[in-house]
Symmetry: C2
Subunit: 300 residues, 2 copies
């Protein structure tokens, strides 16, 4: 399974980066291949200063070795070895009418000291962070998520949509980071879902990523915007930074376990603003977005 999924995300990285370069039409991904001293490594691909994408990364990694102490505590296991691989992407478009998107699909294996596989699971998801709310875009993104889920289990979409709303909640601001999508974790073999069924589910979601996001980009990338709208985007990006640095388990985990910093923090937006006590005027488009972030809704 680990070879199968690692091959899958390698190919998916190629598919996604090619398509994004085509849509951008100007910038190319810069690739950094890195090695982890304790075992494994990754292939980071970053795009900057494009026509469409101001900054973004589509990274894969496959790491293995002794499970670090901090992860032993986190997973509540004794001395063990592990293998983990995944694809993580974040795209920050230039135009404030185009939403930021994040996705991550990952697979984990744990072995005892005799080298026997003792646990394995999939995790992942994807979510959208608009700066201006176009209901049809939200409906489109969630519809694709739902369609991919429904093929595997009619209950997955509503369950993983709710988990996504719960996870990407900026508690100190009492608002969501964005308008959600899917979030699933610890997807382990059961009567109903063998590991291969989970593989099929996760790869279905991964395969549908481009069709969930690209039509929105294509529709909005040339929209006109004002200086004030751009400022609003930069201020909202501040909330994105706050979530990632204060609450996001993946980011903090990486920072505290000596992960490759530049690959982890590629998720941070390029230009960001913080103003004191900034409030949009009531009835504005900006206020309309906040309303939805404070009260996550059902899009499909």
């Amino acid at each position: 399974m680990k070879d199968k999924f690692f091959t899958y995300i390698q190919n998916l990285q190629d598919t996604i980066t090619s398509k994004l370069e085509e849509v951008d039409g100007k910038a190319r991904f810069k690739e950094d291949v890195w090695k982890r001293p304790e075992g494994g490594g990754g292939r980071t691909r970053v795009i900057e200063n494009g026509n469409v994408f101001e900054k973004g990364g589509v990274n894969i990694s496959g790491v293995h070795g002794e499970l670090p102490k901090s992860m032993q505590t986190y997973f509540d296991v004794a001395d063990a070895d592990f293998f983990a691989c995944g694809l993580s992407l974040v795209l920050h478009p230039k135009n404030p009418m185009v939403p930021t998107v994040h996705a991550n699909w990952r697979y984990f294996e744990i072995y005892n000291k005799q080298g026997e596989l003792v646990d394995q699971w999939f995790g992942g998801g994807q979510d959208l962070t608009p700066y201006y709310l176009f209901e049809e875009d939200a409906v489109h993104f969630h519809s694709i998520c739902k369609k991919a889920c429904d093929k595997h289990n009619p209950e997955f979409y509503s369950k993983y949509k709710k988990r996504c709303d719960d996870y990407f909640w900026n508690t100190h601001r009492n608002e969501a980071r964005g308008i959600g999508g899917l979030f699933f974790d610890y997807c382990k073999a059961s009567e109903k879902m063998k590991m291969n069924d989970w593989y099929n589910f996760v790869s279905e979601v991964g395969d549908n990523f481009l069709s969930s996001y690209i039509p929105i980009v294509t529709k909005r990338k040339d929209a006109e915007f004002t200086k004030l709208q751009r400022e609003w985007q930069e201020i909202r990006r501040g909330r994105y930074v706050e979530f990632n640095l204060v609450h996001d388990k993946g980011t903090l985990f990486g920072l505290k376990t000596n992960g490759r910093i530049e690959s982890i923090l590629m998720s941070l937006p390029p230009h960001v603003q913080w103003r004191y006590d900034h409030q949009p005027s009531s009835g504005s488009e900006e206020a309309k977005l906040l309303e939805v972030l404070k009260h996550p809704k059902e899009w499909v």
Copy 2:
């Protein structure tokens, strides 16, 4: 003591904000007085878009009531009441040749459920975060810190300077946030230092703040700078954000105990950039700064 120190920081806030407005020459502090539902409140003063100060806050608060559960765990005490007051300031100048400065001086009391005072201490410090290194500025700032310390104990400066270097260490970047200053905490009554001696020490440090910082501002505020130097400042401000959101105990504590968010996050810089794997060219002024941040040095 609590009334004495609270009066002290109220006056100090006035002194500092008046002087900063005078130096800025354009922007004025905007004041927000707020109440904490559980007891006490604060007076937040924020300056934005000045000639000199792009964003900054000089805030005081005095809060009291039942010690929140999270603080009980933190201080390792049972059910108790508390009083805490302090002044916190952060100034982000526009000109990249002028360093950012942070300071905080605080006083804490703990009472048992019979209302008896069971513990009390002072804490605080101040530190400088330059974007370009002028050795004479670093020496000036540290000299004033040392002079204030030396009047009370010849060992304080080297002890609190080291604690400051340790505390403001951005572990995930393996570099200091800035060039340090002073950091002290849990300053409790002893044979040598009664509470009133600590009051005298902390107020000495507070009284010397303006003379540690303002001469540097005056000397550098009209320096010419390039677009690239401004970009470097914005990139380095990103490290400031990373420290405050990932490592700073005061910030995280505030965010996780339902503090007044806008007063806590006024510390974040106004315009910030993150670029992928940005490295200054070797031998440059930017590289010279990094060298000092990676290897904190003795300035006096």
